[in-house]
Amino acid sequence: MTRRVQLLENRSLLKLAAAAAPILLALIALPSLINTYQVQLVIYGLIAAIAALGFNLLLGYTGLLSFGHSAYFGIGAYSVAFVVAHLGPHSMEFYLLLGIPLVAVTSALFGYICVRHTRIFFGILTLAISQVVYSLALKLFWVTGGSDGLRVPRPSLFLGLLNFSGSHGFQFFIKSYYYYVLGIFVICVILMWVIVHSPFGKALQAIRDNEVRARFLGLRIRRFRWISFLVSGTFTGVAGILWAPLNGLTTPDILYWTFSGEIVFAALLGGFRNFTGPIVGGIVFTYLRTYAVASTEYWQLLLGVVLVTLVLVLPTGIVGAIARARQRLGRRNAVA
């Protein structure tokens, strides 16, 4: 019996590795196959995937729906801008070194306030906090550049080993930054996978499924939710840190509630009830958004309509739908 359970787990780990390997290889080979603009798009996609992955720790695994994750993304991005403006070294490592603790502390602080409350209040509280941050970014224009935002020039990578200036600087930057982000993306995915499959992760899911029973197992509900919030906000903050140098500019838009909506949308699109859903959702959403923005001025409306449709028709998202289809095919094969 022990062996049976053991075999089951090894199988799922192997299956995961087997499924991930070709995708990773494809991602590594990508920049040589497509043009710079497309590579840029993929980088944005990976960043969105990291943001959604972080967000989904709260939604899919802890059962808390946050409408204010733009705050952590934005704080991450603005931290980069502040470092550029006031501290000096334009080094990506420096941005990460300073930015990550900052978003962690902010997530911890805001999370502490938010997790004391039930689902509905939690959601609106997260929305409210992000709106406060937004209004601060907008009003304190002498610090944050107001609605104009702050510029973020190209940083150096690997502690100054790689610098990007000159006529081909941009292309070289995009290509190098792609691999940089890809590396961080892989680290984030592995980290999140371990967290979710750890005893902590199981406890989180238990709390999500049955709060009363979890309490009767001796789990301190609030503390778990708080830690989950902290980790979740930090991941999304990392995405923001990676985003700022790529975008070249940080504006209050990424703090506005509509951006939180995009994060929610990405997770829902991919499917928030499984691990890979947000990753797929983040990447697909980036493409959707790019083409939506290009085709209509009222893409927020379009997004809203698609969101409502998704919830009505495809609540398990893309990955969920694929899983269901596979199940059905499997059953048909078994019957035949």
Partner: protein
């Protein structure tokens, strides 16, 4: 040896006195059945002992330690675990994970974020052990939500048991299950009690089960104790038997 004692425990809901000055005693290692009609106060008493409710007045003592004002987490740490009348499981997790979680929680391992749960050998072994005792090992990988009712009840008890408590409180563990499954549940509980590993207080309505497995039967009625004794003593008590069974027993 007394494991748990309540002193003049009271709990009132509006006009209803669910627990009316109860002096309840549970001896170490015994299998105690708590019986009585619906609304007698049995679940309230269990709720008070497990910290689901706070008493209006009175004390709860665990081996002379006053635990009246401790929290749920503290009581679990002190060794009190319970199952629920309406099955309360983590439907999204597998059977294995449901029990494993109890093991992790008990050992304080739930803060571990950076180790895979499945790689903890000790926890794995213990979980499979418990599942084996409750006959659920073959269903280890199935999501708890997909089990049959009887199996869910078994799992509910298994999870509480996996906390390795000193006092196991079971609220109608055999309600809604087949006779075969009833026996399975009660045999397992009985054997772990006999093995000296746990004391059990069981709320039950099925009199066959009560008389077959209990060391001691305590009968409640409208918030007070009506009778307290071994199955033989209760059987011999014609009045009590009348109330319990609706008719005198033909012995």
């Amino acid at each position: 040896m007394i494991l748990l004692k309540t002193v003049n425990l009271r709990k009132q809901f509006g006009e209803t006195r669910a627990c009316d000055g109860l002096d309840f005693v549970v001896n170490k290692g015994e299998f105690l059945s708590l019986v009585g009609s619906n609304g007698a106060g049995k679940t309230t008493l269990v709720n008070l002992i497990s910290a689901h409710l706070q008493p209006d007045s009175g004390q709860i003592l665990l081996e002379d330690r006053d635990i009246t004002f401790t929290t749920v987490a503290e009581r679990i740490k002190a060794g009190i675990a319970r199952s629920f009348q309406i099955v309360n499981l983590f439907d999204g997790l597998s059977v294995f994970d449901n029990v494993a979680l109890a093991v992790f929680s008990r050992d304080g391992k739930t803060v571990k974020m950076t180790r895979l749960a499945d790689h903890d050998g000790d926890a794995r072994r213990e979980t499979l052990d418990v599942l084996g005792q409750f006959g659920l090992a073959s269903k280890a990988a199935a999501p708890a939500g997909r089990l049959a009712q009887g199996e869910r009840k078994l799992l509910d008890v298994a999870v509480a048991y996996a906390l390795r408590p000193r006092l196991l409180l079971l609220d109608e563990p055999t309600s809604g299950v087949s006779t075969h499954e009833k026996a399975q549940i009660m045999d397992t509980v009985s054997s772990v009690v006999r093995g000296g590993m746990v004391t059990a207080v069981v709320i039950e309505h099925d009199m066959d089960v009560v008389f077959r497995y209990s060391d001691r039967i305590v009968m409640m009625h409208e918030g007070s104790f009506l009778a307290d004794g071994t199955p033989e003593e209760i059987r011999a008590n014609k009045e009590v038997a009348n109330i319990l069974l609706g008719a005198p027993l033909a012995i």
